[in-house]
Every structure is written in structure tokens, then in C-alpha cells.
Amino acid sequence: MTAERLLAGALLIAVLIAGTAASALPPGDAAAGARAFAACAACHARIAGAPQRNGPALVAVIGKRAGAVDPGYAAYSPALKSAKLTWTAETLDAWLARPAKFVPGNRMAYPGMPDPVARANLIAFLTTPPK
């Protein structure tokens, strides 16, 4: 085996492992997520500058720090603000599954979604920019 072949083989394995890790969460259907968001919309707006509701506006969530997604929102819990948490597909999945367990002391009055596919759909929806 030449060094070149070994390197190519190692790269292939690395890509496969990285690909598998990235797809550990099921792929999401954003249209299904939009329908699921109907249950969240009472508290969460999807446009910046909307009249304040019970929860923060969720315009662009991915990559933002928890407690900083909506700078105009005044009622973030100290627990969420101090959680040192960045929203990614993985952290959103854990949050949506069991918010009270993921960030104890947070104020989102929601038990969570037990279905991983439903969560993936919602995350896909949250990841697409609102119209």
C-alpha cells in the first residue's frame, strides 16, 4: 500500500465518520415544521419588531447565544441567559425534547416534544429564514 493510498483511505473514513456524525439527527421537513409551529406561535413571533408576546421572537436562531436571540425581549430567565449555550441543531434538539431538564430554571412553559422527527421538522423550519 502506497502512502498516497493510505492517506486517501484515511480521508475517506474521516469524511464518512464526519458525515455520519452530522446526520445523527433525522433530516427535517421545514413545511411540516411550519405546521408544528402553530403550537408555538401564541408565544413566539417570527418577525423582528412584532408586539411583544410571552416569549422571544425567533427570527434567526441558529448560531445565536441562548438568551440573546431577541435583544428586545425583557423576560429571559437568569438561567437561560447564564447557560452559555449556542443554538445549533443539536442543542435545539436537546432543548425541544425536554426544556426543563436541558436548562433548569428557564421560563418556557412547555414540556417538550418526545418525537425526534417532529423536533427535526421544527428545527428545519426555524433554520429557514421567515418570509
Partner: protein
Amino acid sequence: MALTFQINGKAHQVDADPDTPLLWILRDHVGLTGTKFGCGIAQCGACTVHLDGAAARSCQVRAGDAAGAAITTIEGLSPDRSHPLQMAWIENNVPQCGYCQSGMIMAAAALLKATPKPSDEDIATYVDNICRCGTYNRIRSAIQKAAGMVA
């Protein structure tokens, strides 16, 4: 405004303000009164229905937002009380006043679909509906019994 809803597998056309809570569409416009009003602020769960199979509290779901989803109410869970939860509810003599049971069963049904063998902790987390009569122990045992009924 004319709105169309898919409820328990059938299309229903309704003339209503899209801001109407789905609960009133179900009860007043369509006549499905199995879903109950308890608090109006999505805290008690009496109004729980399924949107695409996931539990949702219909008192805080805007009708206009729900018009695209497949809605299931307690009436649609089975045609003849043959859903394992309904059978377990009767076997275990669960209801006292009975007011929480529609929402409680719908929340439990959504959980069992996602997690067929839930732990007691899963039940406490995801079926957090309020029962004013306090029959929580029988509710939990009925959910466990229903989970055991499905192979």
C-alpha cells in the same frame, strides 16, 4: 373568512376569523365538544388535540395557523373506544369527574406514539395535564397498562 380544516380525516369548511383559537373552531363551529376548555392559557391541557400527531393545546393555536395540519381530536382517536388508552382508562376506572380525560388521553396518545414504552418520568414530563380530582396515580397506571397492551 372561509377556512378549511382536516379534522379526524375529514375536511371541514368553516367561516371564522383566522385569529380564533382552534378550540372554538372544534367545539362551536364543527360541533366536536369532546375537547374541553380549562384555562385558556395552555397551562392545564384540557384542550389538547393532535396536530400532525403531536400534542398541541388548542386554546392557544390560531385557527389560521392550524388550517394546513392534520388535526385529531378525542373523537378521532378511535371509532369505538378501542384505543389502548381508552380501554385502559375503563379497565382501571380512571375518571372521577371526567373533565381532564379528553386532553389527558390525547397527550398520552401522542407520547405513546413517539415513545411506546415510556418511563414514569416520561409520563410526568410529557403528560403534564392537570387533574383537579387528583386521580394521577390511576392515570399513570392506565398509561403504563396501555403501553403494555401494544407489543
